[in-house]
């Protein structure tokens, strides 16, 4: 059968993600050339091989993975793309590694605006540039409408740990000071107050940021005095402190009066009945440091813009192993437990 010259050719220019964009055919190439490569292009990715071949510097290799499903995809202060880069960079950095290479896997929902996807990819490229890492391999799949929430991203990362650095949540020692690098709850409350259904407006923005620059400086100056670092993401500072206490079988005592909370975040938490210590952060650091070096570490963190609100919030103690206790404003003590799950606004 001959094709009549008037027979319509398939549409190649779309404004939204189609199932065919993930099918490995011509439209897959279109989305690569039009959306991904202009922003992510580098010597590794440009080869379009099924794998990136890397030469790693000597030292132990750190390897991590995380999947990002945040809703809404765009939130005050960031979007899912930069979160996916910064989150994985931070997971490497808090282990004492210099983050080097990332992979990015995308699950796209049919119908996602290509312009939105491009904004997300551009943010990833900028975040990677700021953090000094390269996205060297990737994958894209498309699922039917309703089978995912617009876009999910998985990033894995590789970094190299410098000689002599041994950071572990099992390393806390009685007497260590606990430093918090800034205000708590910004990311979680930015997400919560921008979700549909919450009829109040706030100026809260996410603290989403890569911490590897600040961490590298700390490890340059105090390679042995820093015992452990964590970025207090889901579950907030409360969950991080509990993990540190139980991994090292020590107690942690913190002081309520020292915990920095932005006024808007505090206001939203008060309204919703949520403890800021249980709310997620995406650009903060909890550091356990030998007491003798605590002041030096604090000054160093404060010299960075990301750490200008840093404070010593407490210390590691011999008492109450595995338990985090807060000294309240009134001198009483209360246990800071792990949050149970999703934070639920209360009735009244």
């Amino acid at each position: 059968m001959t094709i009549a010259p008037t027979c319509p050719t398939p549409i190649m220019q779309h404004e939204t993600v189609q199932m065919a964009h993930g099918a490995g055919g011509r439209l897959s190439q279109v989305i690569m050339q039009r959306v991904f490569m202009p922003h992510l292009s580098n010597a590794f990715l440009d080869l379009l091989d099924d794998q990136a071949k890397l030469d790693l510097p000597s030292g132990r290799t750190a390897f991590t993975t995380d999947t990002y499903v945040v809703s809404p995809v765009f939130f005050p202060g960031g979007n899912i793309g930069e979160l996916a880069v910064n989150g994985t960079v931070n997971d490497l950095a808090v282990g004492g590694a210099r983050p080097l290479y990332l992979s990015a896997g995308f699950v796209l929902e049919e119908g996602l605006l290509l312009a939105e996807l491009e904004t997300i990819v551009r943010s990833m490229a900028e975040a990677a540039r700021r953090a000094g890492v390269m996205i060297v391999t990737g994958d894209t799949k498309v699922v039917g409408k309703g089978q995912c929430d617009r876009i999910f991203i998985n990033t894995s990362g590789i970094g190299v740990i410098r000689e002599g650095v041994d950071l572990s949540c099992r390393n806390l020692k009685a007497g260590d000071s606990i430093i918090l690098s800034g205000t708590v709850g910004d990311h979680g409350m930015a997400i919560m107050t921008s979700r549909e259904g919450l009829s109040f407006h706030s100026r809260i923005t996410s603290d989403c940021a890569a911490l590897n620059g600040m961490i590298a400086s700390m490890l340059d100056e105090l390679p042995c005095a820093i015992h452990a670092m964590r970025d207090p993401t889901r579950g907030g500072v409360a969950a991080t402190l509990n993990e540190l206490a139980s991994s090292s079988s020590v107690g942690i005592e913190i002081h309520e009066s020292t915990i920095p909370v932005k006024p808007d975040v505090r206001g939203a938490c008060e309204l919703l009945g949520i403890d800021p210590l249980h709310v997620a952060n995406e650009g903060k650091l909890v550091v356990a440091v030998a007491a003798d070096n605590a002041k030096q570490a604090l000054d160093l963190i404060r010299s960075f813009d990301l750490g200008r609100d840093a404070v010593i919030i407490g210390s590691v103690v011999d008492d109450h192993p595995d338990m985090v206790v807060m000294r309240t404003l009134y001198g009483s003590r209360r246990i800071i437990d792990l949050p149970l799950g999703e934070q639920l606004p209360r009735i009244c």
Partner: protein
């Protein structure tokens, strides 16, 4: 350092709290047992460790004023049955979603395909009904006199605009009948009350005056911040020491004797007083609110024919005694053993305002 927040930090001032504690210590010449009615007060007392700072002679027992805790199991089961229906969007305040029925909670209904949504106001639920005319939207109207005006308002609005795809599953209760039940119990130990500040903001405190006279107890409407609570405790101790069974308001910035007349009016238009079962306590006559006949078409129980659903409490759960101040949460044999926030046997372990959950979260032994 937290940035000062007006109308909050004044009432969290540690110096003022210390002065009030000194004054309580000075005034209390013997042992007194005082009940704070509201779960929000219980939460604040334990969160701030005020119970650790009070003199030993002052015992605080925790009252029944946690809406999540006293919503009866059959209401939860009815909610679960309605929420599982295909044509329904079920809306609720957040902390009801984790309250267990006999086998599951609303989260589990959601995970098996039920459309269950958290709302922050009943009016949001009405908006969902407007936006989804082909769906039946149900709001779980639970709570004390604090939530009743807004819940009444949403029914009144729905009626005014002739909204046929909206209904409410009502489980509203009231404080004074519960106080009478506690005071009439042979095991009662409560000698004075901190009345729930926000309930009094709506209802005023006139209705507590006969309770104070009849049972010879002082009743002090009290707020929720540490300084509010300590001022309320101090006033209650003073009244007890002087033998005065009076109602004295210690939440003047929010509460007046007559309450909020507009809120009371809308409640009276939409609701009528009925008998209600309380979880853990049982039926209390004239203790609840139900929709008046004129609004019966908005009653989800009738619309979905779930009135026949009944339920049985776990035999291990002693939340009824806890809610009436006869048992401290850690006095229950199942506390922190069979019953934890992750596996609650009763609602007092679920809600952030529940006494058992507050004890579990803040009060487990600190060496």
């Amino acid at each position: 350092m937290p940035t000062p927040m007006r109308y909050i930090d004044e009432y969290r001032d540690p110096g003022l709290a210390r002065k009030l504690l000194d004054e309580i210590r000075r005034k209390a010449t013997r042992r007194w047992t005082i009940m704070e009615i509201c779960g929000g007060q219980t939460h604040s007392i334990l969160r701030n460790g005020l119970d650790q700072l009070l003199p030993e002679s002052i015992e605080l027992v925790h009252g029944p004023g946690c809406p999540v805790c006293v919503t009866p199991l059959e209401s939860i089961e009815r909610a679960l049955a309605i929420a599982a229906r295909e044509e329904v969007i079920f809306t609720s305040f957040g902390d009801m979603l984790r309250v267990p029925g006999n086998a599951k909670d609303l989260f589990m209904v959601r995970s098996t395909g039920g459309d269950v949504r958290i709302v922050f106001s009943p009016l949001d639920a009405l908006q969902i009904a407007r936006d989804n005319p082909s769906k039946e939207v149900v709001f779980f109207a639970v709570g004390f006199e604090t939530t009743a005006p807004a819940n009444a308002m949403v029914v009144w609005q729905a009626a005014r605009e002739g909204r046929e795809n909206f209904s409410v599953l009502v489980s509203q209760v009231m404080v004074p009948p519960a106080m009478r039940t506690i005071l009439s119990s042979p095991g009662n130990r409560v000698q004075g009350f901190l009345a729930a500040g926000h309930v009094c903001a709506v209802m005023g405190y006139e209705e507590y005056e006969p309770v104070a006279r009849e049972f010879h107890v002082p009743i002090v409407p009290t707020g929720f911040e540490p300084v509010d609570l300590l001022a309320g405790i101090l006033k209650t101790v003073e009244l007890l020491e002087e033998g005065r069974a009076e109602v004295v308001n210690r939440y003047g910035r929010v509460v007046s004797r007559e309450g909020n007349p507009v809120a009371r009016e809308i409640m009276a238009k939409v609701f009528e007083v009925i008998d209600r079962p309380w979880r853990g306590i049982g039926m209390i006559p004239d203790s609840g609110l139900g929709l008046r006949e004129a609004f019966a078409r908005f009653d989800a129980e009738k619309k979905f024919h779930v009135s026949n659903i009944c339920a049985r409490e776990s035999p291990l759960c002693m939340s009824g005694s806890v809610l009436q101040g006869m048992l401290k949460p850690d006095g229950c044999p199942a506390f922190a053993k069979e019953c934890t926030p992750a596996h609650p046997l009763g609602a007092t372990m679920v809600s952030s305002e529940g006494a058992c959950a507050a004890y579990y979260n803040y009060h487990t032994t600190v060496s």
